[in-house]
């Protein structure tokens, strides 16, 4: 929970249009699923910080995958802010606020974790896989080059199954179809990706009668729960009376999928 200038250690292509950004970070400690808010330039345009999940923490003593002195982000160039970020050079600094948000909750003793990542939704799962020491990642990649990111999971004990819509790599079809095949009664589902995918994952989990935690994205201004800009509607009314909105940045980005009013998302 700091706002600091962080030196860029590397900012290199990970896949076409997709970059790895390494930030010097004295004693970082991150929970898988947390994010940071990056000020991509000192100018006034773009004005707001941009949120990115943490892809990895390196350089820690004792190989704790959640601690270290390098924080790595993985981001895709989709607009002005990410384009500017991708042009930033090694040894320059960017101001970073974070780590922020809750991250994924611990899995129960008997629960088998299935991670479902779509596109850049793969980001939180590399750390989670390292932490778990096992688990299954179902990765819906947009194509061959994105699918190559699965290589990053080689060093983990996590099994990876890839799907692509066109079948160019792995199974042909939606990643949630993979989920349907893999899910069992003792699964717990952790999902991150486009809203459509999260909705589908929620349904599959509900049908199997297991818990599902999803990481949501909303436009954010502050990242710390004060602008109230990143609200999503909560489903559970009774308990949360007069408080139907939850803030993705401070109460999430990870939510129990049952708490979310999917109709209104």
């Amino acid at each position: 929970m700091e706002s600091k200038d962080r030196k860029i250690l590397f900012n290199e292509v990970a896949a076409p249009g997709c970059f790895r950004l390494g930030l010097e970070w004295r004693s970082a400690e991150v929970t898988p699923g947390q994010f940071v808010m990056v000020r991509v330039s000192d100018g006034l345009d773009p004005l707001l910080r941009r949120p990115f999940g943490v892809y990895g923490v390196h350089g820690g003593r004792g190989k704790n995958p959640l601690k270290g002195n390098v924080v790595e982000l993985l981001y895709k160039v989709v607009g002005k802010g990410t384009r500017i970020l991708s042009a930033r050079e090694r040894n320059e600094s960017v101001n970073v606020l974070g780590p922020l948000g809750n991250g994924f909750p611990e899995a129960g003793k008997d629960e088998k974790v299935i991670m479902v990542g779509g596109g850049m939704g793969i980001v939180p799962f590399l750390m989670l896989a390292k932490k778990l020491g096992d688990g299954l990642l179902l990765y819906g990649a947009r194509g061959k080059s994105e699918a190559a990111l699965a290589k990053d999971f080689k060093g983990t004990a996590c099994r990876v199954k890839v799907s692509t819509v066109d079948g160019s790599v792995g199974a042909k079809g939606l990643v949630t179809e993979l989920l349907e095949r893999e899910i069992t009664k003792d699964s717990v589902v952790y999902a991150c990706g486009p809203v459509g995918m999260l909705k589908a994952a929620t349904k599959v989990a509900a049908a199997a009668g297991v818990r599902c935690h999803v990481s949501l994205e909303r436009s954010m201004a502050c990242g710390i729960g004060v602008c109230l800009g990143c609200a999503v509607r909560a489903k559970t009314h009774g308990e949360r009376e007069n408080r139907n909105y939850m803030m993705v940045c401070s109460e999430g980005p990870v939510f129990d999928s049952e708490d979310i009013d999917w109709e209104l998302l």
């Binding site: 000020r39 004005l47 910080r49 909303r218 201004a221 710390i224 109230l228 800009g229 007069n242």
Partner: protein, 311 residues
């Protein structure tokens, strides 16, 4: 004009508004600083002139559906819908934390009817740790078909009178910039008893998602804030200064000390930092530091700078 130069103490930064002394002229803008506590990890609340809290209503409010914000060139639009915990929860749950700090607390309030405003003001009257009320009149009057109180001088004056009757606290009226003549509004609320004015609240704006052919915000329009609006805000402060008999608090697009000084030189006794706190949670304190550096370098005081523009 309500501004006392602190000659005897030799201090350069303090200002006075409605009889209250502020240790420096930099406040946080309502709705951009939560209830204060959220910023404690990032900044030193004790170094602010005042914390103005998120707008409070009689009952808790849930706010608008999303999307609630969208970025614009050098600015942002918001349609939060004045989500807040309500005045009661504020007093019970939020204020005790703020009392630990020496910094003044200003409660920003709003309502949907005259009665709402009165009632909220009454509930805050005499509450320890609240230095003043800031009345947000940029809200639709539900009894008058949604016409915004703050764009009609008569309605605005009525709100101020209602609030004044309900509290002994100093009343700062926060004006809407969406008017033809800000001077008319200043006169109206001053005549109604307002002790100071905050200028400006957000400009109404809109962004269209051209691929979806839908508004970017769920509510279609929202409030524009950030550096984009600063020239409009400074102009309104300068216009207001010509007629105002009470102090002005300048708000709108302040990112750094230089920006705050524009407002002060144009006629504001104090300033509020809003959107900037989202980008840098320590922005308001940095603004205060920069103002301190400026008055030191120029061998002057903030009070002397107020309205010192040579035209």
């Amino acid at each position: 004009m309500g501004t006392t130069v602190e000659k005897n103490t030799g201090e350069r930064l303090p200002v006075e508004i409605a009889g209250i002394r502020f240790q420096n002229p930099v406040m946080t803008a309502s709705g951009t600083f939560g209830y204060g506590s959220e910023f404690a990890p990032y900044t030193d609340l004790n170094r602010l002139g005042a914390v103005v809290v998120k707008g409070l209503s009689l009952k808790p409010r849930q706010g608008n559906p999303g999307p609630r914000i969208v970025e614009t060139p050098c600015g942002m639009l918001n349609a939060i819908g004045l989500q807040n915990v309500g005045v009661e929860a504020f007093i019970k749950e939020k204020l005790p934390y703020l009392r630990k700090y020496s910094t003044r607390v200003i409660a920003n309030i709003f309502g949907e009817t005259m009665e709402d405003y009165s009632e909220v003001a009454r509930m805050l009257d005499g509450v320890e740790g609240v230095a003043a009320l800031e009345v947000n009149i940029s809200c639709p009057n539900v009894k008058k078909g949604g016409i915004v109180f703050g764009t009609d001088p008569f309605e605005a004056a009525k709100v101020v009178m209602a609030v004044k009757k309900s509290t002994r606290l100093p009343v700062i009226t926060k004006l809407s910039p969406n008017v033809t003549d800000i001077k008319v509004m200043v006169r109206a609320v001053e005549d109604a008893g307002s002790d100071a004015v905050s200028i400006i609240n957000t400009l109404t704006g809109m962004v269209v998602d051209v691929e979806k052919r839908r508004p970017a915000l769920a509510t279609v329009t929202g409030g524009l804030s950030g550096p984009a609006i600063r020239p409009v805000a400074v102009r309104m402060v300068w216009e207001a200064r010509k007629v105002a008999r009470t102090p002005i608090i300048g708000v709108g697009g302040i990112m750094e000390a230089k920006d705050a000084l524009e407002f002060i030189i144009a006629g504001a006794t104090a300033v509020q930092v809003g959107t900037a706190s989202f980008i840098d949670p320590n922005a308001a304190v940095k603004v205060a530091e920069g103002i301190a550096e400026y008055v030191e370098r120029h061998g002057t005081t903030v009070s002397k700078l107020v309205g010192s523009l040579e035209v």
